[in-house]
């Protein structure tokens, strides 16, 4: 029957035609009680998110199995550590952007926010350009700066009612502008040993950065699960008008969700800077699309309300495994990009298959 049971029913749409031709009492009908018309819709549909997550995991598993079969190097513990380490920054960024995507909004501000934060942190900790040496405080301030950018994106979007596509794009340009001014022609090399250790020091084979990323993702998940910001973000993405009708200050929570996202971008910028060893203006180039792609592969829908931090992590791992595996399996660099594109599209197709609507309308 309604086997099309669109698990991703559009917001507020009703269940598929529930009416049987039971003689409904109408004008002058005179029919008595109808025999019970047991409806098929009594059975609860399986949570769409579970189906979705399973599909994403399958896509990731297929990648892992194929690469492991082809490349012996892929199967090593060292490579696992390498993959986790390589995924660290993207994981933090994707955690941040998940909050925005949950809202049903989009965030293209990453390149600018990361650029500004990368320059800021490299100028606040011990560096080759000035005499600042704020250490952890500098890192904290940078994360606050990221949050500030996010809040500003949020305020502009909600108060001025500008689409987030435009506000965040503008925010990116502003961030890059600030970064360029801070850059002033000379890259500040990070001399702070604590920050340098993030990339170099290993605990149990994993870099400090990987462990920080795991902690950050866990924090992101907790925010999503246990705070109003996280819960309302999902609810707003599910049905904004209903949340508004319930008296929730939607604009405030949207703004806060952007702020949380910005804080994660700030942390991501610090991690990138630790990894690159100096403040690089373009450190965030392309991260917006990488983070969005990761989230989408994981099953976070651009239309909002579905997915979450953990789902996005599946996508992050899939992207990282793909980049790593293509090199290890010896795919020619000349075709890697194309292969990568094809596999990403396939992964998204597999991962989002269960939520395709019956008429297959895609926007």
């Amino acid at each position: 029957m309604a086997g099309d049971t669109t698990p991703h029913a559009p917001t507020r749409s009703l269940e598929p035609a529930p009416l049987a031709d039971a003689p409904a009492p109408g004008a002058g009908g005179g029919n008595g009680d109808a025999p019970g018309t047991t409806s098929g819709r009594a059975r609860a549909t399986r949570s769409a998110d579970v189906v979705q997550t399973r599909a994403s995991l399958i896509a990731l598993a297929v990648l892992v199995v194929v690469f492991a079969a082809i490349s012996p190097q892929f199967r090593t513990v060292g490579n696992l550590q390498q993959i986790i380490d390589a995924a660290a920054v993207l994981a933090v960024l994707a955690t941040g952007i998940t909050f925005v995507l949950l809202l049903g909004a989009i965030d293209l501000s990453l390149p600018g926010v990361i650029g500004a934060c990368a320059m800021t942190v490299s100028l606040l900790v011990a560096n080759s350009r000035n005499t600042q040496d704020l250490g952890l405080l500098g890192i904290g301030l940078t994360i606050l700066l990221g949050a500030g950018f996010g809040l500003l994106s949020g305020v502009l979007s909600t108060r001025l009612r500008i689409p987030t596509f435009m506000t965040t794009l503008g925010m990116s340009a502003i961030g890059l502008g600030i970064a360029t001014i801070l850059f002033a022609g000379v890259r500040p090399v990070v001399l702070d040993e604590g920050l340098g250790a993030w990339a170099a020091h290993r605990i149990g084979g994993f870099t400090v950065m990987s462990l920080l990323a795991v902690a950050a993702v866990a924090l992101g998940w907790a925010i999503q699960r246990w705070t109003r910001i996280g819960r309302y973000a999902a609810a707003i993405g599910g049905a904004e008008d209903i949340v508004l009708l319930s008296g929730v200050p939607v604009a405030r929570y949207k703004t806060l969700a952007f702020g949380v996202a910005g804080a994660f971008y700030g942390l991501g910028a610090v991690m990138l800077t630790a990894r690159l060893g100096s403040g690089v203006v373009e450190a965030g180039a392309g991260t917006d699309f990488a983070a969005i792609t990761a989230a989408v592969i994981g099953g976070t829908l651009l239309s909002g309300g579905r997915g979450g931090v953990l789902q996005s992590m599946i996508g992050v791992l899939a992207l990282t495994v793909l980049a790593n595996g293509l090199i290890l399996t010896g795919v020619s660099p000349y075709v890697q990009q194309a292969v990568q594109g094809v596999i990403v599209v396939l992964a998204v197709a597999v991962a989002t298959w269960p939520v395709r609507r019956r008429l297959g309308v895609v926007k």
Partner: protein, 368 residues
Amino acid sequence: MAARMNRTRGTALIGSVVVALALSACGGESSAEAEGEGSGSTGNCAPEDITLVGQVRNQTNPYEAAWLAGGDAFAESVGLEQQKLTYDGDSQQQQEQIRQVLASGDASCTVINALPNGDSDTTPIVNAADSADAWLVTQWNKPADLDPTEYERWIAHLTYDGVESGYQIAKALFEEMGGSGGVIALQGILDTAAAQDRFLGLQKALEEYPDIELLDDQTADFDRATALEVTRTLLTQHGDKVGGVWAANDDMALGAVQALEAAGVDGVAVAGIDAVPEALEAIADGSMTATVSSDGPWQGAVGLAMGYCAATGELDVASIDADDRAFFAEQFLITEDNVQEFSDPQLDMSEFDCDSLFSRATGPIAAS
């Protein structure tokens, strides 16, 4: 570096200005057959009427920032200011900026020292400048069949022989490795001429060193973060066999250095191209072996200098040797031995005298 130079060497510059002005005054008299009109291969602009324009992609990387700083230094030396334009790698925006510059003020006394976004962007820039009678020097990118000698005021196009750059650092790298071992190569964006030429240079060097094995070549898009990931993955794959990393630019080389440090690997030689300040520091402290400098400040200054000399009439474009109208400029291999000289760069203002502008030309760009 270049920015710092502006401040610290202000007095020296003023000195050079005086010398330069004196020299240009002498040169000016000999060739000052001024034409009343704003066309032809020599100009008759008063120095103070000249507009100097430097245009690069953006200021967010040290190389292009140094280029503009060099232009500033030259402009200051002749008592002018350089108008700095950046177009964010956007071809449309570059053309628009050129149009605006040419539309404002006296185009025939305008000098443009431009870095075209790509080969195909050069043609419209040249045509726009030509029809406005502005003085133009282009660098790096130019279609092979576009020839400055066919234009009166497109003074010159200069670029660097990427094959040579790739070859020089490869040799330095192989020598550092003792002539044998495995190397991995980090290529630039594969469809750019720079990446292709530099890689050709590596291959040329490989033929001369039979004991060096190219273990793997991967693209890292000229990008530091990408290079870091790629290097780490390649280290996973090739492990101890890696004795050297050849990178098509310094950013990737620095990414590779970071990756080696993170992996706790010692004794792997790394070479890059561009001579960005961080690479020079890395060479000084031994974490990098070699890089090649095109001398960004010189590039930023020499283009303006050529235009300035032509606009004032001290340089007759028609009289320039055809080989110098489109030439490869000299590049410098930087290793531990000579890194100090380049770490503290000084613009030698005498290089911008109107009669020594082409002293760094190493030969005409081979028509291919």
